[in-house]
């Protein structure tokens, strides 16, 4: 029985340390990266995983303490895993709507950021040389 407690203590400590390191890496990405579209990666993926690990540790701890399964923390985990992609999607949509500046190394060319190029090509096209019938 004591061996089980020691093993579970090691497992809980591992999940706690892993979760907080994941959360720290996500926040470090948020603080260090260059433009908004890069910064969106860290919090929306890594921080959610970190909180998931901490909540797993909490489930294990209280299940051991009360000698029965305690699955209430699973509610928070499921809620966070459902809502994190939704909020990331809305944030990226609002960033595209505001036409935020981006690093030249950021790849992709979404429609929302192409309007300036279209206007320029329309102005540069000489009159009368349209290929439309």
């Amino acid at each position: 029985m004591i061996a089980l407690y020691t093993l579970m203590e090691g497992v809980i400590a591992f999940f706690l340390i892993a979760g907080s390191i994941f959360a720290l890496i996500g926040s470090l990405g948020l603080a260090r990266m260059k433009d908004f579209y890069m910064r969106l990666h860290g919090p929306s993926k890594i921080s959610t995983l970190g909180v998931g690990c901490v909540l797993l540790a909490s489930i294990a701890y209280f299940s051991l303490l009360e000698s029965g399964p305690s699955l209430q923390e699973l509610l928070i985990t499921i809620f966070l895993f459902i809502t994190a992609p939704v909020s990331a999607h809305l944030l990226s949509k609002s960033a595209l709507h505001q036409k935020l500046e981006r690093d030249p190394r950021t790849r992709g060319n979404p429609e929302e950021l192409q309007e300036d190029d279209d206007e320029r090509t329309l102005e540069e096209t000489p009159q009368g040389s349209s290929k439309l019938p």
Binding site: G10, I21, S87, S94
Partner: protein, 89 residues
Amino acid sequence: MLDFALKVSVALLSVAIVLNLYRVAIGPSLPDRILALDTMYVNSIALIVLFGIWLGHRTYFEAALLIAMLGFVSTVAVCKYLLRGDIIE
């Protein structure tokens, strides 16, 4: 071993929240600040759960659940305001 792990993870999460505060302070645009606040509530949920483990109480679980729901709703509300200029149309 669990005491040491708890102390280390509280320290790491506090550093993470300070980094989020830094991004809230300097964030050049509004979506940056919303993203930093979003990350901050997620990290504070982890901190509250850690506090509950530290004290061995179940009381703090409801606080974490409330913060999760209100944080998501507020993020969606501010994003809708940025997108449409209005929250409820």
